[in-house]
């Protein structure tokens, strides 16, 4: 059933009233040079039954397997209570809470989320979420560009050991906005950013340095030295971090002498199932003094006319419904449901629980690394320390190895040769707290058999 209730007669009557011939005429205002393609390549819709059949078939492809893939999305235990509570009608159907008097529950939850996220990141301010980790980084870069000296074209240093998808999304979103994205290579021996490599950019006026923690290879960056270098050269420091790792490692707000200026990343590890890639959510934190350049919803706590505590959307003059074309935020719907689940997840675990999860992840990944090193032909590519994933070199083509493991219902890792051809036949392999010693042993045994 179509969701558009107008009949052809209705449409014709409306077009006639405003004096145009066809619906396409409404879009004449768009310059022809901006029209890139028609929509004929988009297939026509599927029936509900066809769609259901397709999705069930796809779900079978990645469900129920033993997963050692990380690479930006991580399998963690989610307490049953999280989605039981998040699925309550009051949360499940809540939309952008413009009407504070009717949305106190949702607003309070978002306020609690912001408080938890700011605390986890060691930052002063958090917004109420963005779409995902990659778009949160793009927003962080746009924010840095707004904060920079407007006389010069902004230049952002983007390390190659940042998630390749994040780099692609960054290119898509900010690549056309008169911002230079400069590639910073990683040290081929350590997989990390070396502070020495930054000196090549010392003469160039930079806007921001992006620092991943851990980096895409799972390695731990020297965040203090890197952020200090940034601040000594009047460059903003943008942290892209795994939120679980921040329960164990130094949070961005404490990096170096001044702390990172903006911290962002993917919220999925905090209570969101892998679910074939989404929906996830992005988080974004910053210094309080940057509040007016921050995108997304921000919830504040206040008092009503009777002095009672209440929660409201605040700093809305940044947003598109007030500031129109000059808004610093063009995102009005945050990932409310995902954030609801994350907030419940974080409150059930607490800071100590999150730290335990992080420690268990690191413990399992260390055990995994040890078991893999005992296999003839497998070598770690970069030295420790790592958080919960690492890169290993295989004596055989990675695609062949992964296919054999898949037959044993094991998702054995993420092949790096597409995005990092220089690394050759390597796998990025991850173990979170969900992997038992028996399962890690099973992977090691299966790999040994596959390679023999």
């Amino acid at each position: 059933m179509p969701f558009i209730p107008h009949t052809n007669e209705d449409t014709q009557a409306m077009l006639a009233t405003i004096g145009i011939q066809k619906i396409d005429d409404l879009f004449n205002e768009i310059p022809n040079t901006l029209l890139t393609a028609d929509l004929t390549s988009i297939p026509s819709g599927l029936s509900e039954m066809e769609l259901s059949r397709l999705m069930h078939a796809r779900a079978k492809q990645d469900g129920g397997k033993l997963c050692f893939i990380g690479a930006g999305a991580y399998e963690h235990h989610i307490p049953a209570a999280v989605w039981e509570i998040a699925s309550r009608g009051e949360f499940l159907t809540a939309y952008t809470p413009y009407q504070a008097e009717a949305s106190q529950g949702t607003l309070q939850l978002l306020y609690e989320y912001q408080t938890m996220m700011a605390s986890l990141m060691g930052m002063e301010l958090s917004n109420a979420s963005l779409y995902d980790g990659a778009s949160a980084l793009a927003e962080a870069v746009l924010m840095a560009a707004r904060l920079s000296n407007k006389k010069e074209k902004p230049a952002i240093l983007v390390p190659r050991n940042l998630h390749p998808h994040y780099r692609q999304v960054l290119q898509s979103i900010v690549g056309q906005q008169d911002i230079d994205l400069l590639e910073l290579d990683y040290d081929s021996k350590t997989g990390k950013i070396s502070v020495e490599s930054l000196t090549a950019f010392a003469d160039r006026k930079l806007t921001a340095l992006i620092i991943p923690q851990p980096n895409f290879f799972g390695g731990i960056e020297e965040v203090d030295a890197l952020s200090n270098w940034a601040h000594e050269h009047a460059v903003l420091c943008i942290a892209v971090v795994n939120p679980i790792a921040m329960a164990l490692l130094k949070p961005p707000g404490q990096w170096g002498k001044q702390g990172a200026d903006i911290a962002c990343g993917e919220g999925q590890p905090l209570g969101i199932p892998l679910a074939s890639g989404g929906p996830y959510y992005g988080f974004l934190c910053s210094r309080k003094s940057f509040a007016r350049q921050m995108p997304g919803r921000i919830v504040g706590r206040t008092v009503d006319s009777e002095g009672k505590t209440g929660f409201v959307l605040t700093l809305q003059a940044r947003e598109q419904h007030i500031r129109r074309a000059k808004a610093t935020s063009n995102i009005c719907t945050n990932q409310g449901l995902m954030v609801t689940a994350s907030t419940i997840h974080m409150s059930l675990l607490g800071p100590a629980g999150l730290r335990q999860v992080a420690l268990a992840c690191h413990h399992n990944a260390t055990l995994l690394a040890k078991k893999l090193q005992d296999i003839v032909g497998i070598k770690p590519v970069f030295p420790a320390p790592f958080f919960h994933e690492l890169v290993i070199r295989l004596p055989k083509p990675s695609s062949e190895v992964l296919q054999k493991l898949a037959k044993l219902d094991i998702q054995g890792g993420y092949a790096l040769n597409t995005h990092y051809p220089e690394l050759g036949e390597t796998l990025l392999i991850c173990a979170t707290e969900t992997k038992s010693a028996v399962e890690i042993e099973f992977l090691a045994t299966s790999l040994r058999e596959t390679l023999s």
């Binding site: 006389k151 003059a317 940044r318 007030i322 000059k326």
Partner: protein, 129 residues
């Protein structure tokens, strides 16, 4: 009826201008502050930056809106009012005095195309209808 001092000159976009020798002091009019309501934030231009006549050079934010302030003449910013950054309410309380925003050194002081108080008052009267 809002206050439109006779000794000042005005723009159609609700800035006032006071000429002191070769410097122009700029703020927003009583009418503008009244329309915006309680101001909570002022973003003023950086010193030594140049603006064209009519170019956006500052942003004011109230509890209900954000508004751009336009340069009334081409020139270079030589001074900004730090006090309104600290306390934007000064613009509401004293728009023609303590609530001034910035001083600009015009490239061509004689080239200013500004409204007299009478002309600006007439504009306000016509906008009211």
């Amino acid at each position: 009826m809002s206050n439109v001092p006779k000794k000042l000159r005005y723009t159609a976009s609700h800035e006032w201008v006071r000429q002191d020798e070769d410097l122009f002091t700029v703020g927003i009019t009583d009418h503008a502050q009244c329309m915006l309501g309680d101001l909570v934030y002022a973003e003023l231009p950086e010193l030594e930056t140049s603006f064209d006549n009519g170019q956006e050079c500052a942003v004011l934010e109230s509890v209900k809106a954000a508004a751009d302030v336009y340069s009334p003449i081409s020139g270079e910013i030589v001074e900004i009012n730090e006090a309104v950054i600290e306390n934007p309410q000064l613009i509401n309380e004293d728009p023609y005095g303590k609530g001034w925003l910035f001083r600009i050194r015009p490239f061509d002081p004689a080239g200013a195309q500004l409204l007299s108080a009478d002309q600006y008052s007439k504009q306000l009267a016509s906008e009211a209808h």
